[in-house]
Protein backbone atom coordinates (compact mmCIF):
# COMPACT_ATOMS: atom_id res chain seq x y z
CA UNK A 1 0.00 0.00 0.00
CA UNK A 2 1.28 3.46 -0.99
CA UNK A 3 -0.10 6.47 0.89
CA UNK A 4 0.66 9.93 -0.46
CA UNK A 5 -0.28 12.64 1.99
CA UNK A 6 -0.37 16.38 1.22
CA UNK A 7 2.75 16.40 -0.92
CA UNK A 8 4.20 19.74 -1.98
CA UNK A 9 7.28 20.10 -4.13
CA UNK A 10 8.76 23.52 -4.74
CA UNK A 11 11.96 23.79 -6.76
CA UNK A 12 14.41 26.66 -6.04
CA UNK A 13 12.39 27.75 -3.07
CA UNK A 14 12.92 31.41 -2.16
CA UNK A 15 14.82 32.13 -5.38
CA UNK A 16 13.58 34.24 -8.28
CA UNK A 17 13.11 31.09 -10.40
CA UNK A 18 10.97 29.33 -7.76
CA UNK A 19 8.68 26.73 -9.31
CA UNK A 20 5.81 24.99 -7.58
CA UNK A 21 5.72 21.52 -9.14
CA UNK A 22 3.22 19.78 -6.84
CA UNK A 23 0.58 21.10 -4.46
CA UNK A 24 -1.33 19.19 -1.85
CA UNK A 25 -1.22 15.81 -3.58
CA UNK A 26 -3.00 13.13 -1.61
CA UNK A 27 -3.97 9.65 -2.82
CA UNK A 28 -3.50 5.98 -2.10
CA UNK A 29 -2.50 3.02 -4.21
CA UNK A 30 -3.53 -0.35 -2.91
CA UNK A 31 -1.34 -3.39 -3.25
CA UNK A 32 -1.51 -5.01 -6.76
CA UNK A 33 -3.34 -2.00 -8.18
CA UNK A 34 -2.46 -0.39 -11.51
CA UNK A 35 -2.84 3.36 -11.22
CA UNK A 36 -2.42 5.84 -14.01
CA UNK A 37 -1.12 9.36 -13.31
CA UNK A 38 -2.20 11.33 -16.32
CA UNK A 39 -1.86 14.92 -17.34
CA UNK A 40 -0.15 17.16 -19.88
CA UNK A 41 3.64 17.52 -20.08
CA UNK A 42 5.04 19.59 -17.23
CA UNK A 43 2.11 18.88 -14.94
CA UNK A 44 4.35 17.31 -12.25
CA UNK A 45 3.70 13.59 -12.92
CA UNK A 46 7.40 12.70 -13.24
CA UNK A 47 8.22 14.69 -10.11
CA UNK A 48 5.55 12.77 -8.20
CA UNK A 49 6.91 9.46 -9.50
CA UNK A 50 10.45 10.45 -8.42
CA UNK A 51 9.11 11.22 -4.94
CA UNK A 52 7.39 7.79 -4.81
CA UNK A 53 10.74 6.21 -5.74
CA UNK A 54 12.58 8.27 -3.09
CA UNK A 55 14.70 9.75 -5.87
CA UNK A 56 13.53 13.19 -4.81
CA UNK A 57 12.46 14.57 -1.45
CA UNK A 58 9.19 16.50 -1.24
CA UNK A 59 9.25 20.02 0.20
CA UNK A 60 6.53 18.93 2.60
CA UNK A 61 4.09 16.09 3.09
CA UNK A 62 4.60 12.39 3.49
CA UNK A 63 4.75 9.19 1.52
CA UNK A 64 4.19 5.87 3.24
CA UNK A 65 4.95 2.51 1.63
CA UNK A 66 3.75 -0.55 3.53
CA UNK A 67 3.64 1.53 6.69
CA UNK A 68 7.14 2.98 6.32
CA UNK A 69 7.65 6.69 5.74
CA UNK A 70 9.98 7.14 2.81
CA UNK A 71 9.69 10.84 1.93
CA UNK A 72 12.54 12.04 4.12
CA UNK A 73 14.70 8.95 4.21
CA UNK A 74 18.44 9.55 4.49
CA UNK A 75 20.26 8.87 1.23
CA UNK A 76 21.51 5.37 1.99
CA UNK A 77 18.12 4.20 3.33
CA UNK A 78 16.45 5.64 0.24
CA UNK A 79 18.83 3.56 -1.90
CA UNK A 80 18.02 0.46 0.12
CA UNK A 81 14.31 1.18 -0.24
CA UNK A 82 14.64 1.44 -4.02
CA UNK A 83 16.81 -1.67 -4.22
CA UNK A 84 14.30 -3.79 -2.27
CA UNK A 85 10.95 -2.37 -3.39
CA UNK A 86 11.07 -0.37 -6.59
CA UNK A 87 11.45 -1.15 -10.26
CA UNK A 88 11.66 2.15 -12.13
CA UNK A 89 11.15 2.38 -15.89
CA UNK A 90 12.47 5.76 -17.02
CA UNK A 91 11.13 7.81 -19.86
CA UNK A 92 14.51 7.87 -21.61
CA UNK A 93 15.34 4.35 -20.34
CA UNK A 94 18.49 5.62 -18.60
CA UNK A 95 20.59 2.70 -19.72
CA UNK A 96 24.36 3.02 -19.60
CA UNK A 97 25.12 3.06 -23.30
CA UNK A 98 28.64 1.62 -23.07
CA UNK A 99 27.53 -1.40 -21.04
CA UNK A 100 26.15 -4.58 -22.59
CA UNK A 101 22.53 -5.62 -22.18
CA UNK A 102 23.54 -8.15 -19.52
CA UNK A 103 25.62 -5.58 -17.61
CA UNK A 104 22.76 -3.08 -17.66
CA UNK A 105 20.28 -5.66 -16.43
CA UNK A 106 22.41 -6.79 -13.48
CA UNK A 107 23.19 -3.21 -12.39
CA UNK A 108 20.69 -3.20 -9.46
CA UNK A 109 22.03 -6.59 -8.26
CA UNK A 110 25.76 -5.75 -8.14
CA UNK A 111 25.84 -4.23 -4.65
CA UNK A 112 23.05 -6.43 -3.31
CA UNK A 113 25.18 -9.27 -1.93
CA UNK A 114 23.92 -11.96 -4.32
CA UNK A 115 26.43 -14.49 -5.62
CA UNK A 116 27.52 -14.40 -9.26
CA UNK A 117 25.43 -17.53 -9.97
CA UNK A 118 22.30 -16.03 -8.37
CA UNK A 119 22.76 -12.85 -10.36
CA UNK A 120 23.22 -14.77 -13.61
CA UNK A 121 20.06 -16.78 -12.95
CA UNK A 122 17.96 -13.69 -12.16
CA UNK A 123 19.37 -11.76 -15.14
CA UNK A 124 18.77 -14.66 -17.54
CA UNK A 125 15.19 -15.04 -16.32
CA UNK A 126 14.47 -11.34 -16.68
CA UNK A 127 16.11 -11.02 -20.09
CA UNK A 128 14.26 -14.07 -21.39
CA UNK A 129 10.94 -12.80 -20.04
CA UNK A 130 11.31 -9.58 -22.02
CA UNK A 131 12.77 -11.26 -25.10
CA UNK A 132 16.15 -9.56 -25.00
CA UNK A 133 18.29 -12.53 -23.97
CA UNK A 134 19.59 -13.06 -27.52
CA UNK A 135 21.14 -9.58 -27.38
CA UNK A 136 22.73 -9.99 -23.97
CA UNK A 137 26.26 -9.22 -25.17
CA UNK A 138 25.31 -6.26 -27.36
CA UNK A 139 26.06 -2.77 -26.16
CA UNK A 140 22.98 -0.82 -25.11
CA UNK A 141 23.89 2.03 -27.45
CA UNK A 142 23.60 -0.31 -30.44
CA UNK A 143 20.02 -1.36 -29.70
CA UNK A 144 16.80 -0.05 -31.25
CA UNK A 145 14.37 2.02 -29.14
CA UNK A 146 12.12 -1.00 -28.53
CA UNK A 147 15.04 -3.18 -27.51
CA UNK A 148 16.34 -0.49 -25.18
CA UNK A 149 12.97 -0.32 -23.52
CA UNK A 150 12.89 -4.08 -23.02
CA UNK A 151 16.34 -3.86 -21.40
CA UNK A 152 15.07 -1.05 -19.17
CA UNK A 153 12.08 -3.19 -18.13
CA UNK A 154 14.26 -6.25 -17.59
CA UNK A 155 16.55 -4.16 -15.37
CA UNK A 156 13.60 -2.69 -13.44
CA UNK A 157 12.22 -6.15 -12.72
CA UNK A 158 15.40 -8.15 -12.23
CA UNK A 159 15.26 -7.86 -8.43
CA UNK A 160 11.57 -8.80 -8.42
CA UNK A 161 10.26 -5.53 -6.89
CA UNK A 162 6.83 -5.17 -5.36
CA UNK A 163 6.22 -1.76 -6.93
CA UNK A 164 6.79 -0.76 -10.53
CA UNK A 165 6.94 2.91 -11.45
CA UNK A 166 6.95 3.82 -15.14
CA UNK A 167 7.55 7.35 -16.34
CA UNK A 168 6.15 8.05 -19.82
CA UNK A 169 7.09 4.52 -20.91
CA UNK A 170 5.86 4.94 -24.48
CA UNK A 171 7.16 8.45 -25.10
CA UNK A 172 10.06 7.20 -27.22
CA UNK A 173 8.29 4.31 -28.91
CA UNK A 174 6.33 3.95 -32.13
CA UNK A 175 2.73 2.64 -32.21
CA UNK A 176 3.69 -1.03 -32.51
CA UNK A 177 6.24 -0.94 -29.72
CA UNK A 178 3.75 0.93 -27.56
CA UNK A 179 1.32 -1.94 -28.09
CA UNK A 180 4.08 -4.37 -27.12
CA UNK A 181 4.53 -2.41 -23.91
CA UNK A 182 0.88 -2.81 -23.10
CA UNK A 183 1.35 -6.58 -23.38
CA UNK A 184 4.24 -6.37 -20.91
CA UNK A 185 2.03 -4.33 -18.65
CA UNK A 186 -0.62 -7.01 -18.67
CA UNK A 187 2.00 -9.60 -17.74
CA UNK A 188 3.13 -7.44 -14.86
CA UNK A 189 -0.43 -7.00 -13.72
CA UNK A 190 -0.88 -10.77 -13.84
CA UNK A 191 2.29 -11.07 -11.73
CA UNK A 192 0.40 -9.12 -9.00
CA UNK A 193 2.71 -6.14 -9.03
CA UNK A 194 1.68 -2.71 -7.79
CA UNK A 195 2.08 -0.42 -10.77
CA UNK A 196 2.02 3.37 -11.11
CA UNK A 197 2.38 4.80 -14.59
CA UNK A 198 2.84 8.50 -15.34
CA UNK A 199 1.77 9.23 -18.90
CA UNK A 200 -0.03 11.56 -21.23
CA UNK A 201 -0.26 8.92 -23.98
CA UNK A 202 -3.98 8.21 -24.71
CA UNK A 203 -3.11 4.57 -25.46
CA UNK A 204 -3.23 3.98 -21.70
CA UNK A 205 -6.55 5.69 -21.05
CA UNK A 206 -9.55 3.53 -20.18
CA UNK A 207 -7.61 0.25 -20.31
CA UNK A 208 -9.42 -2.66 -18.70
CA UNK A 209 -6.35 -3.50 -16.62
CA UNK A 210 -6.18 0.00 -15.11
CA UNK A 211 -7.71 0.21 -11.65
CA UNK A 212 -7.71 4.00 -11.33
CA UNK A 213 -6.70 7.14 -13.16
CA UNK A 214 -5.50 10.24 -11.34
CA UNK A 215 -5.29 13.43 -13.29
CA UNK A 216 -2.73 16.09 -12.42
CA UNK A 217 -2.73 19.53 -14.01
CA UNK A 218 -0.18 22.19 -13.11
CA UNK A 219 0.83 20.25 -10.02
CA UNK A 220 -2.69 19.91 -8.66
CA UNK A 221 -4.88 16.79 -8.55
CA UNK A 222 -8.14 17.13 -10.42
Amino acid sequence: MIKVDKIYKIFNQGKPNETVALQNITFQVKSKELVLLKGPSGSGKSTLLSILAALLKPTSGDVEVDGKKIAKLPDNFASMYRRENIGFIFQKFNLIPTLSVYENVILPLIPSGFTKEEIDTKAELSMKKFSIYHKKNDLAKNLSGGEQQRVAIARALVNDPKIILADEPTANLDAKLSQDFLSFLKELKNDKKTIVIATHDPIFFNLDITDREIEIVKGVMK
Binding site: L55, S79, M80, L95, L99, I110
Partner: protein, 394 residues
Protein backbone atom coordinates in the same frame (compact mmCIF):
# COMPACT_ATOMS: atom_id res chain seq x y z
CA UNK B 1 29.42 -2.90 3.61
CA UNK B 2 32.17 -5.33 2.70
CA UNK B 3 35.48 -3.72 1.75
CA UNK B 4 35.94 -6.18 -1.07
CA UNK B 5 33.07 -6.98 -3.38
CA UNK B 6 34.11 -9.09 -6.36
CA UNK B 7 31.19 -7.95 -8.51
CA UNK B 8 31.90 -4.30 -7.77
CA UNK B 9 35.56 -4.97 -8.57
CA UNK B 10 34.58 -6.51 -11.91
CA UNK B 11 32.34 -3.54 -12.59
CA UNK B 12 35.27 -1.20 -11.83
CA UNK B 13 37.47 -3.15 -14.26
CA UNK B 14 34.83 -2.87 -16.96
CA UNK B 15 34.52 0.88 -16.24
CA UNK B 16 38.29 1.25 -16.74
CA UNK B 17 37.98 -0.59 -20.06
CA UNK B 18 35.02 1.52 -21.14
CA UNK B 19 36.96 4.74 -20.62
CA UNK B 20 40.06 3.11 -22.09
CA UNK B 21 41.83 5.93 -23.92
CA UNK B 22 41.52 8.36 -21.00
CA UNK B 23 42.72 5.73 -18.54
CA UNK B 24 45.61 4.65 -20.75
CA UNK B 25 46.76 8.29 -20.88
CA UNK B 26 46.57 8.58 -17.09
CA UNK B 27 48.37 5.23 -16.72
CA UNK B 28 51.21 6.35 -19.01
CA UNK B 29 51.71 9.66 -17.17
CA UNK B 30 51.59 7.88 -13.82
CA UNK B 31 54.02 5.23 -15.07
CA UNK B 32 56.54 7.79 -16.36
CA UNK B 33 56.35 9.80 -13.16
CA UNK B 34 56.94 6.81 -10.88
CA UNK B 35 59.54 5.31 -13.19
CA UNK B 36 61.56 8.55 -13.25
CA UNK B 37 61.27 9.13 -9.54
CA UNK B 38 62.11 5.56 -8.54
CA UNK B 39 64.98 5.17 -11.06
CA UNK B 40 66.62 8.35 -9.88
CA UNK B 41 66.28 7.37 -6.26
CA UNK B 42 67.61 3.88 -6.99
CA UNK B 43 70.63 5.25 -8.89
CA UNK B 44 71.29 7.91 -6.30
CA UNK B 45 71.03 5.41 -3.43
CA UNK B 46 73.28 2.91 -5.21
CA UNK B 47 75.98 5.44 -5.95
CA UNK B 48 75.84 6.84 -2.44
CA UNK B 49 76.14 3.31 -1.09
CA UNK B 50 79.09 2.61 -3.36
CA UNK B 51 80.71 5.91 -2.41
CA UNK B 52 80.22 5.36 1.28
CA UNK B 53 82.27 2.16 0.88
CA UNK B 54 84.91 4.14 -0.99
CA UNK B 55 84.97 6.93 1.57
CA UNK B 56 85.25 4.38 4.37
CA UNK B 57 88.44 3.03 2.83
CA UNK B 58 90.00 6.49 2.45
CA UNK B 59 92.69 7.70 4.85
CA UNK B 60 91.48 9.55 7.91
CA UNK B 61 93.46 12.66 7.00
CA UNK B 62 95.02 13.70 3.69
CA UNK B 63 97.55 16.52 3.58
CA UNK B 64 98.41 18.59 0.51
CA UNK B 65 100.77 21.51 0.18
CA UNK B 66 99.43 24.69 -1.37
CA UNK B 67 101.41 27.50 -2.88
CA UNK B 68 99.70 30.46 -4.51
CA UNK B 69 96.49 28.52 -4.15
CA UNK B 70 97.86 25.66 -6.28
CA UNK B 71 98.79 22.17 -5.19
CA UNK B 72 102.54 21.54 -4.90
CA UNK B 73 104.64 18.48 -4.21
CA UNK B 74 105.22 18.06 -0.52
CA UNK B 75 108.63 17.52 1.09
CA UNK B 76 109.15 14.16 2.85
CA UNK B 77 110.80 16.01 5.78
CA UNK B 78 107.40 16.57 7.34
CA UNK B 79 106.64 12.84 7.60
CA UNK B 80 108.78 12.41 10.71
CA UNK B 81 107.28 15.45 12.42
CA UNK B 82 103.73 14.32 11.67
CA UNK B 83 104.51 10.86 13.09
CA UNK B 84 105.23 12.44 16.46
CA UNK B 85 101.70 13.81 16.86
CA UNK B 86 99.90 11.83 19.52
CA UNK B 87 97.08 9.68 18.16
CA UNK B 88 98.64 9.23 14.71
CA UNK B 89 99.37 5.58 13.90
CA UNK B 90 100.69 5.82 10.35
CA UNK B 91 101.98 8.54 8.04
CA UNK B 92 102.30 7.58 4.34
CA UNK B 93 103.58 9.78 1.53
CA UNK B 94 101.85 9.14 -1.79
CA UNK B 95 102.97 9.66 -5.32
CA UNK B 96 100.18 10.02 -7.84
CA UNK B 97 98.96 12.23 -10.67
CA UNK B 98 97.19 12.28 -14.02
CA UNK B 99 98.78 11.19 -17.25
CA UNK B 100 97.21 12.49 -20.44
CA UNK B 101 97.35 9.95 -23.26
CA UNK B 102 97.02 12.17 -26.30
CA UNK B 103 96.26 9.43 -28.86
CA UNK B 104 93.13 8.40 -27.01
CA UNK B 105 92.31 11.82 -25.54
CA UNK B 106 92.06 10.16 -22.13
CA UNK B 107 93.43 10.94 -18.69
CA UNK B 108 94.82 8.05 -16.68
CA UNK B 109 95.18 8.23 -12.92
CA UNK B 110 98.73 7.10 -12.17
CA UNK B 111 99.26 5.91 -8.60
CA UNK B 112 102.61 4.89 -7.13
CA UNK B 113 103.03 2.27 -4.41
CA UNK B 114 106.03 1.17 -2.41
CA UNK B 115 107.55 -1.98 -3.91
CA UNK B 116 108.62 -3.19 -0.50
CA UNK B 117 105.41 -2.73 1.34
CA UNK B 118 104.08 -6.22 2.06
CA UNK B 119 100.62 -4.87 2.92
CA UNK B 120 100.27 -3.55 -0.59
CA UNK B 121 101.31 -6.89 -2.03
CA UNK B 122 98.51 -8.62 -0.16
CA UNK B 123 95.80 -6.15 -1.03
CA UNK B 124 96.84 -5.99 -4.65
CA UNK B 125 96.67 -9.77 -4.89
CA UNK B 126 93.06 -9.53 -3.75
CA UNK B 127 91.93 -7.07 -6.39
CA UNK B 128 93.96 -8.09 -9.42
CA UNK B 129 93.09 -10.58 -12.14
CA UNK B 130 95.80 -12.14 -14.33
CA UNK B 131 98.26 -11.37 -11.55
CA UNK B 132 101.95 -11.72 -12.18
CA UNK B 133 103.39 -12.71 -8.81
CA UNK B 134 106.80 -11.33 -9.66
CA UNK B 135 105.46 -7.82 -10.23
CA UNK B 136 107.31 -6.24 -7.35
CA UNK B 137 110.51 -7.96 -8.29
CA UNK B 138 110.48 -6.50 -11.76
CA UNK B 139 111.42 -2.85 -11.94
CA UNK B 140 109.13 -1.56 -14.73
CA UNK B 141 105.67 -3.11 -14.37
CA UNK B 142 102.17 -1.80 -13.79
CA UNK B 143 98.67 -2.95 -12.93
CA UNK B 144 95.88 -1.18 -14.82
CA UNK B 145 92.13 -0.79 -14.68
CA UNK B 146 89.86 -2.43 -17.27
CA UNK B 147 89.23 0.91 -19.06
CA UNK B 148 92.95 1.68 -19.32
CA UNK B 149 93.66 -1.80 -20.66
CA UNK B 150 91.03 -1.42 -23.39
CA UNK B 151 92.41 1.95 -24.49
CA UNK B 152 95.97 0.68 -24.53
CA UNK B 153 94.97 -2.37 -26.59
CA UNK B 154 93.15 -0.14 -29.05
CA UNK B 155 96.40 1.70 -29.51
CA UNK B 156 98.41 -1.52 -29.94
CA UNK B 157 99.96 -1.43 -26.46
CA UNK B 158 98.92 -4.89 -25.32
CA UNK B 159 102.11 -5.79 -23.44
CA UNK B 160 103.66 -2.49 -22.38
CA UNK B 161 103.14 1.26 -22.60
CA UNK B 162 105.60 4.03 -23.39
CA UNK B 163 105.05 6.94 -21.00
CA UNK B 164 106.52 10.25 -22.13
CA UNK B 165 108.50 11.86 -19.31
CA UNK B 166 108.59 15.67 -18.83
CA UNK B 167 112.03 15.78 -20.51
CA UNK B 168 110.60 14.05 -23.60
CA UNK B 169 112.21 10.63 -23.04
CA UNK B 170 110.18 7.44 -23.11
CA UNK B 171 109.64 5.24 -20.08
CA UNK B 172 108.60 1.72 -21.01
CA UNK B 173 106.39 0.02 -18.40
CA UNK B 174 105.15 -3.57 -18.82
CA UNK B 175 101.60 -4.67 -18.11
CA UNK B 176 101.60 -7.08 -15.17
CA UNK B 177 97.92 -7.30 -14.16
CA UNK B 178 94.40 -5.96 -14.54
CA UNK B 179 92.07 -4.96 -11.70
CA UNK B 180 89.02 -7.16 -11.10
CA UNK B 181 85.63 -6.10 -12.52
CA UNK B 182 84.14 -5.72 -9.03
CA UNK B 183 86.38 -2.70 -8.35
CA UNK B 184 85.54 -0.91 -11.60
CA UNK B 185 84.09 2.24 -10.05
CA UNK B 186 87.41 2.99 -8.35
CA UNK B 187 89.90 1.26 -10.64
CA UNK B 188 88.71 1.77 -14.20
CA UNK B 189 91.09 4.62 -15.10
CA UNK B 190 93.91 3.68 -12.70
CA UNK B 191 97.50 2.73 -13.45
CA UNK B 192 99.29 1.34 -10.42
CA UNK B 193 103.09 1.18 -10.50
CA UNK B 194 106.04 1.62 -8.19
CA UNK B 195 106.75 4.96 -6.51
CA UNK B 196 110.08 5.15 -8.34
CA UNK B 197 108.46 4.78 -11.74
CA UNK B 198 105.70 7.21 -10.85
CA UNK B 199 108.27 9.82 -9.77
CA UNK B 200 110.20 9.31 -13.01
CA UNK B 201 107.06 9.70 -15.16
CA UNK B 202 106.02 12.87 -13.33
CA UNK B 203 109.59 14.23 -13.10
CA UNK B 204 109.37 14.37 -9.34
CA UNK B 205 112.47 14.34 -7.09
CA UNK B 206 112.98 11.50 -4.59
CA UNK B 207 112.46 13.66 -1.48
CA UNK B 208 108.98 14.73 -2.59
CA UNK B 209 105.50 13.22 -2.54
CA UNK B 210 102.18 14.32 -4.09
CA UNK B 211 100.47 14.25 -0.75
CA UNK B 212 100.62 12.57 2.64
CA UNK B 213 97.99 10.39 4.25
CA UNK B 214 97.52 9.84 7.96
CA UNK B 215 95.78 7.04 9.84
CA UNK B 216 94.12 7.91 13.15
CA UNK B 217 92.72 4.85 14.98
CA UNK B 218 90.34 6.87 17.17
CA UNK B 219 87.76 8.66 14.95
CA UNK B 220 87.03 11.16 17.76
CA UNK B 221 90.60 12.47 17.54
CA UNK B 222 90.62 13.12 13.79
CA UNK B 223 89.37 16.71 13.93
CA UNK B 224 91.70 17.64 16.76
CA UNK B 225 94.75 16.21 14.96
CA UNK B 226 93.69 17.97 11.73
CA UNK B 227 93.55 21.27 13.64
CA UNK B 228 97.02 20.66 15.12
CA UNK B 229 98.46 20.05 11.63
CA UNK B 230 96.78 23.21 10.30
CA UNK B 231 98.45 25.17 13.09
CA UNK B 232 101.81 23.53 12.47
CA UNK B 233 101.68 24.02 8.68
CA UNK B 234 99.42 26.91 7.72
CA UNK B 235 100.19 26.42 4.01
CA UNK B 236 98.95 22.81 4.07
CA UNK B 237 95.48 21.80 3.09
CA UNK B 238 94.27 19.25 5.63
CA UNK B 239 91.30 17.16 4.45
CA UNK B 240 89.53 14.76 6.78
CA UNK B 241 87.50 11.74 5.68
CA UNK B 242 84.37 13.53 6.81
CA UNK B 243 85.17 16.54 4.56
CA UNK B 244 85.36 14.17 1.61
CA UNK B 245 82.11 12.50 2.57
CA UNK B 246 80.34 15.88 2.65
CA UNK B 247 81.93 16.86 -0.63
CA UNK B 248 80.80 13.64 -2.37
CA UNK B 249 77.30 14.01 -1.00
CA UNK B 250 77.14 17.61 -2.25
CA UNK B 251 78.17 16.53 -5.74
CA UNK B 252 75.50 13.86 -5.88
CA UNK B 253 72.86 16.02 -4.32
CA UNK B 254 73.60 18.60 -7.01
CA UNK B 255 73.35 15.97 -9.72
CA UNK B 256 70.06 14.78 -8.24
CA UNK B 257 68.94 18.39 -8.57
CA UNK B 258 69.40 18.23 -12.34
CA UNK B 259 66.45 15.91 -12.34
CA UNK B 260 64.25 18.38 -10.60
CA UNK B 261 63.46 19.74 -14.03
CA UNK B 262 62.30 16.31 -15.16
CA UNK B 263 60.30 15.85 -11.96
CA UNK B 264 58.64 19.18 -12.44
CA UNK B 265 57.52 18.32 -15.97
CA UNK B 266 56.20 14.93 -14.89
CA UNK B 267 54.60 16.35 -11.75
CA UNK B 268 53.07 19.20 -13.72
CA UNK B 269 51.36 16.73 -16.04
CA UNK B 270 50.28 14.66 -13.06
CA UNK B 271 48.73 17.68 -11.39
CA UNK B 272 46.91 18.58 -14.59
CA UNK B 273 45.30 15.15 -14.39
CA UNK B 274 44.54 15.67 -10.71
CA UNK B 275 43.04 19.07 -11.49
CA UNK B 276 41.00 17.60 -14.32
CA UNK B 277 39.76 14.87 -12.01
CA UNK B 278 38.88 17.10 -9.09
CA UNK B 279 37.32 19.84 -11.22
CA UNK B 280 34.48 17.56 -12.09
CA UNK B 281 33.15 14.49 -13.80
CA UNK B 282 32.03 14.28 -17.40
CA UNK B 283 28.28 14.40 -17.96
CA UNK B 284 28.36 10.67 -18.86
CA UNK B 285 30.07 9.81 -15.59
CA UNK B 286 27.57 11.92 -13.61
CA UNK B 287 24.68 10.29 -15.39
CA UNK B 288 26.06 6.84 -14.68
CA UNK B 289 26.25 7.68 -10.98
CA UNK B 290 22.65 8.94 -11.13
CA UNK B 291 21.51 5.69 -12.76
CA UNK B 292 23.41 3.63 -10.20
CA UNK B 293 21.68 5.50 -7.39
CA UNK B 294 18.31 5.23 -9.09
CA UNK B 295 18.59 1.44 -9.25
CA UNK B 296 19.56 1.16 -5.58
CA UNK B 297 23.29 1.74 -5.23
CA UNK B 298 24.27 3.45 -1.99
CA UNK B 299 26.80 6.27 -1.88
CA UNK B 300 29.28 3.83 -0.32
CA UNK B 301 28.83 1.37 -3.22
CA UNK B 302 29.55 4.10 -5.75
CA UNK B 303 32.59 5.35 -3.86
CA UNK B 304 33.91 1.81 -3.40
CA UNK B 305 33.64 1.22 -7.14
CA UNK B 306 35.44 4.52 -7.82
CA UNK B 307 38.08 3.57 -5.25
CA UNK B 308 38.67 0.25 -7.03
CA UNK B 309 38.97 2.05 -10.37
CA UNK B 310 41.48 4.59 -9.08
CA UNK B 311 43.38 1.99 -7.07
CA UNK B 312 43.69 -0.41 -9.99
CA UNK B 313 45.04 2.30 -12.31
CA UNK B 314 47.36 3.96 -9.83
CA UNK B 315 48.61 0.83 -8.08
CA UNK B 316 49.23 -1.12 -11.29
CA UNK B 317 51.04 1.92 -12.74
CA UNK B 318 53.01 2.36 -9.50
CA UNK B 319 53.96 -1.29 -9.18
CA UNK B 320 54.86 -1.79 -12.84
CA UNK B 321 56.85 1.46 -12.96
CA UNK B 322 58.70 0.50 -9.79
CA UNK B 323 59.48 -2.97 -11.17
CA UNK B 324 60.57 -1.50 -14.49
CA UNK B 325 62.65 1.09 -12.62
CA UNK B 326 64.46 -1.69 -10.74
CA UNK B 327 64.97 -3.64 -13.96
CA UNK B 328 66.28 -0.49 -15.68
CA UNK B 329 68.67 0.40 -12.87
CA UNK B 330 69.87 -2.96 -11.60
CA UNK B 331 69.60 -5.14 -14.71
CA UNK B 332 70.21 -2.69 -17.57
CA UNK B 333 72.51 -0.63 -15.35
CA UNK B 334 70.56 2.60 -15.97
CA UNK B 335 71.79 3.65 -19.42
CA UNK B 336 71.74 7.48 -19.95
CA UNK B 337 70.65 8.39 -16.43
CA UNK B 338 73.73 6.81 -14.83
CA UNK B 339 76.09 8.85 -17.02
CA UNK B 340 74.57 12.07 -15.73
CA UNK B 341 75.26 10.97 -12.17
CA UNK B 342 78.74 9.61 -12.68
CA UNK B 343 80.25 12.27 -14.94
CA UNK B 344 81.22 12.57 -18.59
CA UNK B 345 84.88 11.50 -18.52
CA UNK B 346 86.08 9.58 -21.56
CA UNK B 347 86.92 6.74 -19.22
CA UNK B 348 83.44 6.41 -17.81
CA UNK B 349 83.60 3.71 -15.21
CA UNK B 350 81.39 0.83 -16.49
CA UNK B 351 80.59 -0.24 -12.94
CA UNK B 352 77.45 -2.10 -11.95
CA UNK B 353 75.08 -0.27 -9.64
CA UNK B 354 74.91 -2.20 -6.39
CA UNK B 355 71.39 -3.19 -5.31
CA UNK B 356 70.08 -0.76 -2.73
CA UNK B 357 66.38 -0.83 -1.85
CA UNK B 358 65.33 2.04 0.35
CA UNK B 359 61.88 1.11 1.64
CA UNK B 360 61.38 4.63 3.04
CA UNK B 361 61.88 6.23 -0.36
CA UNK B 362 59.50 3.81 -2.08
CA UNK B 363 56.91 4.44 0.62
CA UNK B 364 57.36 8.18 0.16
CA UNK B 365 56.80 7.93 -3.61
CA UNK B 366 53.76 5.72 -3.02
CA UNK B 367 52.11 8.10 -0.55
CA UNK B 368 52.94 11.15 -2.67
CA UNK B 369 51.15 9.75 -5.72
CA UNK B 370 48.71 6.85 -5.26
CA UNK B 371 46.49 8.24 -2.45
CA UNK B 372 46.55 11.65 -4.12
CA UNK B 373 45.16 10.18 -7.32
CA UNK B 374 42.60 8.05 -5.49
CA UNK B 375 41.38 11.09 -3.56
CA UNK B 376 41.20 13.12 -6.76
CA UNK B 377 38.99 10.42 -8.27
CA UNK B 378 36.76 9.87 -5.27
CA UNK B 379 36.04 13.47 -4.25
CA UNK B 380 34.12 14.55 -7.39
CA UNK B 381 32.31 11.20 -7.43
CA UNK B 382 31.28 11.81 -3.86
CA UNK B 383 29.91 15.23 -4.83
CA UNK B 384 27.86 13.64 -7.61
CA UNK B 385 26.75 10.71 -5.46
CA UNK B 386 25.44 12.92 -2.68
CA UNK B 387 23.16 14.84 -5.05
CA UNK B 388 19.61 13.62 -5.40
CA UNK B 389 19.57 10.91 -8.06
CA UNK B 390 16.68 12.60 -9.82
CA UNK B 391 18.73 15.78 -10.18
CA UNK B 392 21.73 13.90 -11.63
CA UNK B 393 19.69 11.89 -14.13
CA UNK B 394 17.78 14.91 -15.39
Amino acid sequence: MKLFNLLLFEYALSAIKRRGSKNIFIFIIFFILIFLLSSIFFISNSIKKELSYTVDSLPDITIQKLSAGREQDISLDVVEKLSTIEGVSQVSPRVWGYYYFKNAGANFSVVGVSRFDTNYKKSIQNVVDKYDKTIFDKPNTMIVGEGVKKILEKNYYDKYFNFIKPNGDFKKIYLAGVFKGSTLLESNDIILLSNENAREIFGMSEDKATDITIRVPNPKEVNEIATKIRLMYPNFRVITKNDLRISYNNIFDYKSGVFLALFIIALFTFFIIIYDKTSGLSSDEKREIGVQKAVGWKIGDILLQKFYEAFIISFVAFFSALTFGMFYVYFLNAPVLRDIFTGYSILKPPFELPFSFDFGTVTLIFFATVPLYIAATIIPSWFAATLEADEVIR
